[in-house]
Assembly symmetry: C2
Homo-oligomer: 364 residues x 2
DNA sequence: ACCAACTGTGAATCTCAGG
DNA sequence: CCCTGAGATTCACAGTTGG
């Protein structure tokens, strides 16, 4: 398949091969979200021992060895260019790394036209200590979340993130444990199958924040398939790319065993922006408000009257509920739904109450 | 003074001028530590308002405007080259930034031959929320700590950092509040004097970790003088460079008012590496241990006998307390002081106890 | 059965003075 | 400059063993 562009996406599959070559075979503007956990270029020298003389099993794989920063940059640029090509206009991309490589990736993203939305800190609850006492414990990794371009209208499930964080905004620092215990895939000798398997909790946060049900998620360095397994669980479509056949085999088995959440379990707090849009005029059309009704702000400082076309009128001034709120208070903008109040059954209430009532009626 | 290299450092002063030009006037290899809080290149588009329509007073100063990433890179490279020149061989440098600029700075550091030691996350306890609800709350900034080169024997007050953190290693994520309240310098209108004044707690952590008393600390973007004030308080020497005369005036006043901690208050937990070196043989010479005494490891698995020259003997094997500990346990190395135990008054105790006793006697 | 003690391990750029 | 050898250095969990 190398080189040949397919017209139908290989959905819910794991492709074995080099990620740059394999991405070249995929059509442009077809992917909603990419999560990438590329080699970190750790540049480890000799062996490292713990104070008890036991040996640290560091990352010593061939795939993490680069001759120089320039080599690493060339490799990174090549896969990021392909990644950007296959992303839809409003898509986003995540990369994860440490201080060894994350600065290189950040600069490439910025130079290639991606638009950085956040850098996210994965604070590890149980990091490996610094055994020589010569640096601060390296207790975090960094993720960069970027839109394909500055004008991408990307997805961010703000309310769902807020709900996950006890109803305050989700911050850029996430505290999550390493992938250990039964979640960690083992080989036949009982040793870790992959040196850098990421925890599912991290991927769940990522996909819950930035993708929708049925979105297409691609992981160009899919390894043991954590991204793919979580995508499947969350009802997203996925494409994995992995060079090492052993990892592909293990990931296929893992993903197949993953249970898909039923649609009712995938419902999240909707963002207000996604609620059906109700023009103020339709409240008038439908008779929830009648022409000539007087509206006032909360403190009864300003007032206006409803016109037949759904505009408000005050003397010579005329405009939408938003525009009139802004004009009468000399504000640059105004949310008319929460600014204006109307007397219903003797009680002054926000217009938003009526809007919500109509939304309820319109839903099945 | 521009261009003319001075032979004596302008210690405990704040120089008004461009940092690149001013650093060119300083001698090479003369500074122990640089802390830099450069312009962030924020690329703010238009004004930002809170949900209540009040205006967010963002960073919008001339010094934070760069035409492009390339401009920002050129500027950053120029000052980092001068910074590296004036640093001593074993010196370290700190820079702080956000995702707008920190990746550029990290790449430049790596490409110029600096050696990254840690990236540190300043987690803000009270960050500004994201008013639009379109991203995660940007609740942190990133610091990079780098040595002048990979072979620098840099200073890191490991034990002091550990002591500050309830006796566990200090991690790479620091939780500290923003600079607010009385600490925040105000202008004559009661408004904040500088848009990005850093908290003293952050600088104190930085200087306590990576400098010694009397070290020379330079801040090329000294602003309101936070670095300089903390350096003075902690008994370090300082040099500030700042382009804006108003900030220089305010910083001079602030620094002059800063109280210097007395030497007794500047004592920190010393690293063992800095303790006076006691050869094991001197314990034998001074009669704290006698020839022929039997030593054993903690679990009484191996033993050895003290020889007249301070070596240990076991059958044909002979060597220092460290070498014998390593040999008898097949370990690559061993700290004999904590490995071997000796019976004193019926109690088995670490050799280290005797060493500490001798150190006590030798001190005034 | 239950608890205490022990063992293993994680993306790691992990020493330095003195001759 | 290089080489030698003293000697400094670990946190949070998970899993297993032993009492």
């Amino acid at each position: 398949m190398s080189g040949a562009v397919v017209t139908t996406l290989p959905l819910d599959q794991i492709l074995c091969g080099d990620c740059i070559e394999t991405m070249r075979g995929l059509p442009s503007a077809s992917i909603d979200c990419i999560f990438a956990d590329p080699p970190y270029n750790l540049q480890l020298q000799g062996e490292l021992r713990r104070p008890d003389e036991s040996l640290v099993d560091g990352v010593n794989d061939e795939w993490d060895k680069f001759k120089s920063f320039a080599d690493y940059d060339n490799f990174s640029k090549a896969w990021l260019i392909e990644a950007r090509r296959i992303l839809k206009k409003d898509a986003t991309l995540w990369v994860i790394g440490s201080y060894h490589n994350i600065f290189r990736l950040g600069v490439l993203l910025q130079d290639l036209g991606f638009w950085v939305l956040n850098d996210i800190i994965w604070r590890k609850s149980n990091p490996m200590p610094n055994f020589r006492g010569r640096r601060f414990t390296n207790a975090h990794e960094t993720l960069i979340w970027a839109a394909r371009s500055a004008d991408s209208r990307y997805r961010f499930n703000y309310q769902a993130m807020k709900a996950l964080n006890e109803d305050v905004q989700m911050r850029s620092d996430w505290y999550l444990p390493l992938c250990t215990g039964h979640e960690r895939l083992k080989n036949k000798h009982g040793l870790k199958l992959h040196p850098t398997q990421k925890p599912e909790s991290l991927l769940q946060r990522v996909l819950m924040a930035s993708t929708d049900v049925s979105d297409i998620v691609l992981d160009p360095f899919s390894g043991t398939g954590t991204t793919l397994a979580v995508a499947r669980k969350l009802g997203r479509r996925f494409i994995g790319i992995e060079r090492h056949p052993d990892y592909v085999v293990a990931a296929k088995e893992r993903v197949a065993a993953e249970e898909v959440l039923t649609p009712d379990k995938l419902v999240i707090t909707p963002d207000k922006r996604e609620a059906p849009r109700i023009p103020f005029g339709s409240l008038v059309e439908r008779g929830l408000l009648s022409v000539g009704t007087v509206l006032m702000d909360k403190r009864k400082k300003v007032k206006a009257t409803i016109a037949l076309d759904g505009n408000l009128v005050n003397g010579q001034q005329r405009g939408s509920i938003h525009k009139m709120g802004a004009m009468l208070t000399n504000a640059p903008s105004c949310n008319g739904w929460t600014f204006w109040h109307v007397k219903i059954d003797g009680q002054w209430q926000e217009l938003d109450v009526l809007r919500n009532k109509l939304i309820q009626e319109l839903e099945p």
